[in-house]
Each structure stands twice: as structure tokens, then as C-alpha cells.
Symmetry: C2
Subunit: 210 residues, 2 copies
């Protein structure tokens, strides 16, 4: 008997459209398109983002309206998620701010998301601070789940998913940029939910069903 299994998934790019891209498109502020692929220091990137929002007078409520209006689950994502959830527990490990997910969490049918958070000035509604729950939090969450007895399969699309995928018993890159997947030939890579299902099924030795 193997230990029970659990699936840990990144959210943006795997289940949900990228939130900052939607904000950039909607506000027309090109600099908000930059990601950790462009500015490798996350704190520098976030300081820049908060500074831009403040200069433009964009509040959290404004961002939540944009997100509610424009950010959608990726096509097929909810079916994929429920396919796993009929079989196994799923935990979403994301660097997203929970305040950004709130307007769209019902569209994903309320998965369990472990993310980060924001502080907002109650008078102005402006975002004043961001809080990272834990440094290398995705990896540490996978480690914690393994410590309580789970065999963990982890999948994500970017740099910040690599340590959790390596910490997990099995895992994959999903729709990762070519330069990330080719730099990590030891990690399986795929781009369709069907392939990811097959990898989950074979890695965790689930019974093969429809």
C-alpha cells in the first residue's frame, strides 16, 4: 500500500488567466505587464507595481472590478480541476494575493488556495503593503503535505514552481515557456490538460478511467 496522494497546482497560467496581464491590458499601463521574467527581484517588481497603482490612484476595489470583469478560468480548467477533485484532494499553491482571487474564486468552484495577501489603507482604499506568507512557500507547503503522509504531484508553469515540483514525489511543468522547460529536461513538460491528467494518473498509479 502506497501513501495516499494529493495534487498541488499553481493557479495563474495553469487554471486561471494571468491577473497582472489583465490589469495591464485594462488600464493600458504597459509597465504592469512586467513579470519576474523581466524583473528577477520579486520585491523590486512589487514595489514598482504598487508605486504605479498609487501614482494612478488605482485602489484595490478598482483592481477587483477589473479582475471580476476580465479574468477567466482557462478553457477546460474547471473540468480538469473537477476531474482531479473527484479522485484526490487538490491544493492550489499560488503567489497570488487572495484579494485578487476573491472576485473570481466562484468561477473555479472554490478550490482551496494557499496564497499571499495585501494591506489596504481603509480611508483611501489604496494598497499599502503586500505580504508573502512564507519565503519559498510553495515548496514548504509541498514539504508539509508530504510530512503529514501524502504522496504529492505538483504542476506549475514558471520559475516559482520549480522548487515545489522538485520537492514533490512527481510533477510536471504545464505550458511553461520553452526556455524554462528546456533548462529543466529532468522535469516532464506538457501543454494540454489531457496530457497532465495522464501524467497524474501514471505517476500516482490511479485506476485508469474516463
Amino acid at each position: 500500500m502506497t501513501t495516499p496522494s494529493l495534487v498541488a497546482l499553481d493557479m495563474e497560467g495553469v487554471l486561471l488567466e494571468e491577473v497582472w496581464l489583465a490589469i495591464a491590458s485594462h488600464t493600458g499601463i504597459e509597465k504592469l505587464r512586467l513579470t519576474t521574467r523581466d524583473v528577477s527581484d520579486y520585491d523590486e517588481l512589487m514595489r514598482m507595481r504598487l508605486d504605479i497603482l498609487n501614482r494612478h490612484g488605482i485602489t484595490l476595489a478598482d483592481l477587483q472590478s477589473v479582475i471580476a470583469e476580465s479574468v477567466k478560468p482557462l478553457p477546460g480548467a474547471v473540468d480538469f480541476l473537477n476531474w482531479i477533485r473527484r479522485r484526490l484532494p487538490v491544493v492550489i499553491l499560488s503567489d497570488i494575493f487572495m484579494e485578487f482571487v476573491q472576485p473570481v474564486v466562484h468561477l473555479m468552484e472554490y478550490p482551496t488556495i494557499l496564497g499571499n495577501s495585501l494591506t489596504v489603507d481603509p480611508d483611501s482604499g489604496m494598497i499599502t503593503k503586500y505580504h508573502i506568507r512564507q519565503r519559498d512557500g510553495k515548496r514548504k507547503a509541498v514539504q508539509a503535505l508530504r510530512d503529514i503522509g501524502y504522496t504529492v504531484f505538483a504542476a506549475g508553469d514558471s520559475y516559482n514552481d520549480l522548487t515545489m515540483i522538485k520537492e514533490a514525489d512527481a510533477g510536471a511543468l504545464f505550458r511553461a515557456p520553452e526556455h524554462i522547460s528546456s533548462a529543466h529536461p529532468d522535469i516532464k513538460a506538457c501543454s494540454e490538460y489531457g496530457e497532465l491528467k495522464d501524467l497524474i494518473q501514471s505517476s500516482l498509479r490511479l485506476p485508469v478511467t474516463a
Copy 2:
């Protein structure tokens, strides 16, 4: 800034009807009504249950049919669950066998359930073994969630929930038998989802909304 919050809930008696009671009613086997309140040694209780199932030739598939037909979420449970899930991550910490949840997990809209599991003889379909993921697993899961940076509120209805409630930052007994709640006057007790929402909201200092 406090740490982010998470809610850990027991399942049977809190969100879902009791599975063994449904099996006992449906099969008419009175001894399957016994719980850890009657037989305090869990292993003894489970050996008795498996022995009864085997003597009556009841397979896992039979039990799953009974569960699919007769076990329902408690009235108001899904609304309560989604009320939390719009605000916070929720993890269900249950001693249930995941094979028993599978037929009804969609009725609860796929919460993340950390439970136990069974081994089934592939030829006969009979349950041959049960597997407890971890001794004192509910408490250890709460501890793991606190270790990765969460303030945890935990609620359950019985003896096996006491250690997780005590391990959590805050918690409550929900619809617990009178002799359990009166023996633990230090733990808040309530019996309606509205009261439990209020306790979650005040303990975790959530913004008061509808």
C-alpha cells in the same frame, strides 16, 4: 498584520450525514451503528465493522451504492461551506475513508478533504484493510498548516476533533453531544451554522459582511 487565516472542518456531523449510520440503516445491521462513543478502541471497532461486512458479503461497491443513494450534505452545509470559501481557504480534516466520500463529494462541491483509505480485494471487491494516514492526523494537519504560516480555526463534533481544536489558534465544537461539550467548557460550542460563522468571523477578525 496578522498571518493569513484558514478554516479546518470535520466532515461527518458538521457538513455531511454520518456514513456508518446510513450503512447501518440501509443494511439493517444494528451493530454497524456502533461508533467510537460505544467502542472506544478505534482499531477494535474497525475490525468488527470489516468482519461484519465480510460475513454479509458486502463489497465496497455495495457500500458506495448505499452512500450515493442515502448520504446527503446536512441542510445548509454547502451554503455555509461556500460562505467560508468565498473568504478563506478551507481544508476538511476527516477520519472518513476517501472511498466512502467519492460518491457524494460532488454534492459538497468538491472541498479539499484529507482523510483515510481502504484496500479492496480486486477479485472479490471486499474491503481487506483500512489505512490511517497518520495517528492523530487531524491535529498534525493543523500543526502543519500553522507551520506554513496560517492562523487556523478548527471545528468538529466529537472526541476525535478535540486535539485539532486545541492545536488550532481558535475553534469550536459544532453539534457535539452534550457530554463532550460539558466536559470541555474551555471550548466554545454551538449548533447552528450562523453561530459558527459568527465565531469564525470574530475569532479571525474577518470584515463583517452578509
